[in-house]
């Protein structure tokens, strides 16, 4: 199990991946927006996207769980 967490306070602009997707290392899962910048959140290992913990429009704090890859 790998956990993908937010690196900063941000708004979730776009959810790119869907739960159940097979993802590769480096695939974009969601795109955050902070300070007028888009920040893609990437899978850090290959696997199945077991759970997405955020939806579009959510506000995430630094360290918040974004996705779980199994």
């Amino acid at each position: 199990m790998a956990e993908v967490r937010a690196e900063m306070v941000a708004n979730v602009w776009k959810v790119v991946a869907t739960e159940g997707d097979q993802v590769e290392d480096g695939d974009t899962l969601v795109i955050l927006e902070s300070m007028k910048m888009e920040i893609p959140v990437l899978a850090e290992e290959a696997g199945t996207l077991a759970k997405l913990h955020v939806g579009e429009g959510d506000v995430v704090q630094e360290g918040d769980l974004i996705a779980t890859i199994s």
Binding site: M8, S34, M35, K36, M37, I39
Partner: protein, 446 residues
Amino acid sequence: MLESVLVANRGEIARRIIATTRRLGIRSVAVYSEADADLPFVREADEAVPIGPPPPAQSYLDADAIIAAADRSAAVAIHPGYGFLSENAAFAQRVLAEELTWVGPPPQAIEQMGDKINARNLMHRAGVPVAMGSTDPVTDAAAALAEAERIGYPVMVKAAAGGGGIGMSAATGPEALQTAFETARTRAERFFGSPAILLERFIERARHVEVQIMGLNDGSVVALGERDCSVQRRHQKVAEETPSPGVSPQLRESLLEAGLRAGEAVGYRGAGTVEFLLDVRKQEFVFLEMNTRLQVEHPVTELVTGIDLVEQQFLIAAGEPASFSPQDVRHDGHALEFRVYAEDPVRFLPSPGAITQWEQPAGPGIRVDAGYEAGNKVTPFYDPLLAKLCVHAQTRDQALGLAREAVAAFRLAGPKTNLPFHADLLTSEAFVSGDYDTSVVAGLRP
């Protein structure tokens, strides 16, 4: 002179504009979103009106809320600062229709320069050099490929209605072009509400040099020197200086002349900036765009000329002559600006957060335009600019020395900042030598 001014902006620029209103005895009105209630600009204004929740669309971009705030505070003029509504011709028109004074250029000049394709065509007709590129919007990927073939790779792909480097990227071949085109189109729609794209010949070793102009009420346009803005990350400026170390006296003369011609072509009034790309190898420049507003980096021009550009904006908006005579403008010494951003100094990713310590440098030759102070919270809703650290000295070497000391003396804790990047920049061979181009940041952060 104007009796009162509403400042339709936030952070450092709102505070800087309010500083001039105080000096001139103009009543100032700040507007602020819920996220900004504790910032210094709100407290320093004579009056402050809340205009809505944190997202810009519901506050600083909400024209109705701003006009209502002007009504409520009986402000007679609106200064838009930069960003937000400053280059929105419809808003400028609305301000005038409400019988308020617009501290900015005629709405028509904003409109003509706002569309980059139109601006390019207009400049070409006025005899200002433009890069080979689109004369009409590029609407689909196939058209983009054909256009790139005509222009020749590498090409720059950007939003016609855009600015701030958003959605802009270079393509070296057909495959990269496809990606660049899609990115530009998505961002153009999202950020600027128009999918129109333009392609331009990309210059590989370029300096970004801009000319500060001022359109006066007698119809003349004055050029107040150039600024070098080649230190950029993600096509956004990080540090600026004047004079440009890459511009010879002869080249400067042609640049200033082209800046004047650009302003005259649109009947410009007030403060504006004409941006050029200078091909380092060929020593030729082309028109990039015109910013029809006060520029972020205007302080370096103020430091070497001794002219308060915001004061000139107020005078011109009030129908009065400028406070200086164009033939007496002198450029004294060298000035640099370093933008202090709330971002990590290596990857340049945003870093909002609470500011626990803020001790800024002070002393002769140092100017800090700050938007925040200790105890404030930097929120993710707006750009990451915390402060502009500016230095002024007789020579560039002295100014660099002063800047090194000032960067080291700036104590800021809470959000990560790019101050360590500025320290690196100030000791890098390329920057210190003055012989650098827009790739200087990439060279320092490979």
